[in-house]
């Protein structure tokens, strides 16, 4: 139980510091153009990683499963220019359906 509380307290403080570090150290300064050029591509890189890890990683192993199929259907719906929520719903419904059979 002590381990649980210790972990919660330390991670809460660490997480606060991780998020605050950039804004506190940099303040409101305009960043150099080189950094802005990198940050402009950061969303593409991080979103890709979140999708890849969220879709293909299962407890640290690569896996292709029902979840992958659901995300794939949502992706196809996005490419077909369906609205965001409709595409996400289609993906979730696909996974739910595949699991129900």
């Amino acid at each position: 139980m002590t381990a649980v509380w210790t972990s919660i307290a330390v991670v809460a403080v660490a997480n606060f510091a991780i998020k605050a570090a950039g804004p506190v150290l940099l303040g409101g300064r305009e960043l150099p153009q080189v950094v802005v050029d990198v940050i402009a591509l950061l969303a593409a890189a991080i979103l890709t990683a979140l999708v890849v890890v969220g879709t293909f990683s299962d407890d640290g192993r690569l896996s292709v499963d029902v979840q992958t199929a659901g995300v794939g259907v949502a992706g196809a719906a996005f490419l077909a220019r369906l609205p965001m929520l409709a595409a996400i719903f289609l993906g979730a419904a696909t996974a739910a359906l595949l699991r129900a059979i």
């Binding site: 890189a45 979140l50 890890v53 640290g60 965001m84 979730a92 996974a95």
Partner: protein, 234 residues
Amino acid sequence: MGPVAQPASVAVPHAERRANFRSGLRAGVGFAFPTFVLAVSFGVLARSLDWGVVAPIVASGVVFSGSAQFALADVLGAGGTALAAIFAAVLVNARFAVMGVAVASTLEGGRLRRAFESQATVDASWALANRGGGRFDREILIGATLPQYVAWVGGTVVGVVAGDSIDPEALGLDVLFPAFFLGLLIEELRNGREHIAAAGIAAGVALVLIPFVPPGVPIIAACLGALIGLRRAR
């Protein structure tokens, strides 16, 4: 320290900022449901690991991070030490350091206020607040996070109290977040070849690393893809 530049957001009119905050809130409400369900499953998991009633709720209130809290629960649940659990959770959340640098110039006030405003940096809100060209919107960031915070803590309470009554996977809810990020990514990739190249590198790096490193590391390493932005500066 260079001269302190006026924060860009000061130039934005009040009415527009209110409108942005409201559109952030609306987007955040849309994500309140999946966040709530994820929090319920965290509550159920923590309860099954003998965390008691109070600790999981406190964890959601002060850590407010699904990835870090699931990492904690996983490591402690597998019999790991507190140190190992803390290490895993911090590693999983290291991406927020990079995201924090990205939103730094849009936040306001002195150091303390910036530190607190930066806590609104969570994956979905950060992505929604992305304006392109390296710019972020403070009002959307904060507006989108507020409903998710309420849903996260509320869902944990329900999970801890109600126990195992919802099966997120049976409802396909594990698809929601990756699908949402994929939708934002596809928009992002319409910005041109550089974005596609950055994403390609990120995907390759993450896929190669997943089997070999702790969770969280592939996401940090994938940030390397953004470094092709350096090529523009000659």
